[in-house]
């Protein structure tokens, strides 16, 4: 898998599928590597005719690491006060990374999907570079509107709590324990699958410091309610009713803000990507992109 020097940042990326496939970018969430979701997701999308572009966001995986630990709380306060937050970068910069990666790949426009923080970035790609975005697919994400319900305290703690040590065994056990907190209720937690997945991702890269800066980027980015109301990009919003990290109201709000957006709710889906659910997720994404492609011609 190659690296690209774009938007002043080295990004590690992978492209799967034929050159003539329908381009689709998948943007990962907070602290997650491009290899964090089941491989069956991008494989299934490729099988449905997509050319899937995956990459490590800045500060995670094999992409460029930044330095300095920002004060995320101060950033949020500054934003609320109408001042400029002091952070190394915001989600807008991460959205510009995506547009620059498309430039690098010679892709004029693509369907842009993202999960969680990746959905926020995908929204910003659509808002900042609408001509590059055939469609927006916002997966268990949010407009970040302050009126929306927060994460459950347990989910918030599970997301932020540091592991007891930096040893692989401790980090993997800690990660699995926390994943269970915001896992789906519709399907049993696939311990064997996720143990292997988390373990191999630990070997690929373990860089908790980057999460501090990604978190600050989230805190330093204005909410998108009004901007999304003016968006004219075909949009699909997918959300689970059992998501305790980003409650489903956030997905419903995203769909309500974006004119003509399609909303799909899945009963008992949490803030995770169960392997057993991947065929359905693939079907939803492919059906939507096919409809958008059909309406363009």
């Amino acid at each position: 898998m190659p690296d690209a020097q774009v938007n002043g940042v080295k990004l590690h990326y992978a492209v799967d599928g034929p050159a003539g496939g329908v381009p689709l970018v998948i943007i990962q969430g907070f602290g997650s590597q491009m290899t964090s979701w089941p491989a069956t997701l991008h494989e299934g999308l490729v099988a449905n005719g997509h050319r899937v572009i995956r990459f490590d966001n800045r500060d995670v995986g094999l992409s460029q690491k930044f330095s300095g630990i920002p004060d995320a709380r101060a950033a949020a306060k500054a934003l609320a006060a109408g001042e400029k937050p002091v952070v190394p970068y915001t989600l807008a910069d991460m959205a510009d990374d995506v547009a620059a990666l498309l430039d690098h790949l010679g892709v004029a426009s693509a369907h842009v999907a993202g999960g969680s923080m990746g959905g926020m970035i995908a929204q910003l790609v659509a808002l900042r570079h609408p001509q590059r975005v055939c469609s927006l697919i916002s997966i268990f994400s949010t407009t970040s509107d302050p009126s929306l319900p927060r994460s459950s305290p347990e989910a918030q703690a599970a997301l932020m709590a540091p592991p007891p040590s930096q040893s692989k065994d401790d980090v993997v056990a800690h990660t699995l324990k926390n994943r269970r907190v915001y896992a789906s209720t519709a399907w049993p937690f696939d311990e064997t699958f996720w143990c292997a997945n988390v373990s191999s991702n630990f070997d690929r890269s373990y860089f908790p410091e980057g999460q501090a800066r990604q978190w600050a980027a989230i805190m330093a980015t204005p909410y998108r309610t009004d901007a999304l109301k003016a968006l004219r990009v075909p949009t699909l919003v997918l959300h689970g009713t059992a998501d305790v990290l980003i409650p489903p109201e956030a997905g419903i709000h995203t769909a309500q803000c974006i004119p003509g957006a399609r909303l799909t709710l899945i009963e008992g889906w949490g803030h995770d990507m169960p392997p057993v659910f991947m065929p359905h997720l693939i079907a939803h994404i492919s059906r939507f992109t096919a409809d958008v492609e059909a309406s363009r011609t």
């Binding site: 003509g260 799909t264 709710l265 899945i266 009963e267 008992g268 889906w269 059906r287």
Partner: protein, 304 residues
């Protein structure tokens, strides 16, 4: 339960909640009576501030039977489905059944209602919205389809269970047959009806109205005679929701996705582990999504 005349026919109906509250009309599916809508669901939706109405479609339960129209050739109707040409020999189509629903509202002095249908009732609800948009406050299509022939077919087990008549018309045989049918098309796992629940439900249905297979044949032909609705659904402008079980073996989830994709701004709700049924375990799930959608549609109607 009272009777009312609408569209030239006599319909049995039932209401819950306060007249004057925003109305919700529930339309049942093929060969099923209005009592297949769980009373607990009707009451809980009424409890959210809605005037709930359910009714027996024509040719089922205690509504009027159209025996004077004769018994259509079901095999010919199935055959024409294979060729993709809508069946021309049906005594009536789903358009007529949609007119029943719209005129029933008028007969009850209800100007407009949220239209909710399941299975064949979902097809009818779509046609109420298409043909009678003025009476349709919102449209909900549950475990249903646009009639798009490109959608995956029912599993052979589910289709056989649906169209196989009981071995004889005795009460016991019909109860056993009905239970077996719901098991074949219903939710497979945690959301499945218990044996006791199934027995109570099916027995009540069998005892409520006499067995009348001619009416069921006419309903089946109405389905088979109705062309796909995808193109017409694209013109809908009212709030819409599609609710579908991911494990529905009769009307596959792809058909629900196709319906939602055909309607601008439609909300799609999918339920893992849900089949083609109304088990007690499903009632809270139906309630949660229906009440959330209906309230949202109400606030949008008021804002408009």
């Amino acid at each position: 339960m009272p009777q009312i005349k609408a569209n030239g026919l006599s319909f049995e109906y039932d209401t819950f909640g306060k007249a004057g509250d925003p109305a919700v009309l529930f339309i049942m599916g093929f060969a099923a009576q209005m009592t297949a809508w769980p009373e607990a669901l009707m009451k809980s939706i009424a409890g959210e501030g809605f005037h709930v109405i359910r009714f027996d479609n024509r040719d089922i339960g205690k509504s009027q039977y159209l025996d004077h129209l004769g018994v259509p050739d079901v095999m010919a109707a199935m055959g024409s489905l294979m060729t993709g040409i809508p069946f021309a020999g049906a005594p009536y189509t789903l358009n007529d059944m949609a007119k029943d629903a719209a005129e029933l509202l008028g007969a009850l002095n209800i100007r407009n209602a949220h239209i909710v249908g399941a299975s064949m009732g979902g097809m009818i609800a779509q046609l109420v919205a298409i043909n009678h948009p003025g009476v349709t406050r919102s449209m909900t299509s549950i475990m249903s389809t646009t009639g798009n022939p490109a959608m995956p077919q029912a599993t052979p087990e589910a289709m056989t269970a649906l169209i196989t008549p009981p071995a004889d018309t005795s009460r016991e045989t019909r109860i056993a047959h009905g239970m077996k049918m719901i098991r074949a098309i219903g939710s497979p796992g945690n959301l499945a009806a218990t044996e006791e629940e199934l027995k109570v439900t099916v027995t009540a249905a069998v005892d409520r109205a006499p067995y009348h297979p001619e009416g069921i044949s006419r309903q089946l032909c109405a389905i088979l005679a109705s062309p796909p609705r995808n193109a017409m659904l694209k013109n809908l402008r009212m709030p819409a929701m599609v609710l579908h079980g991911i494990d529905d073996p009769l009307v596959r989830v792809e058909a629900g996705r196709d319906t939602a994709a055909s309607i601008p701004g439609c909300r799609l709700v999918e339920v893992p582990g849900m089949g083609h049924d109304f088990s007690n375990a499903l009632v809270p799930i139906y309630h949660k999504h229906l009440s959330a959608f209906l309230k949202d549609a109400e606030s949008r109607a008021k804002a408009a």
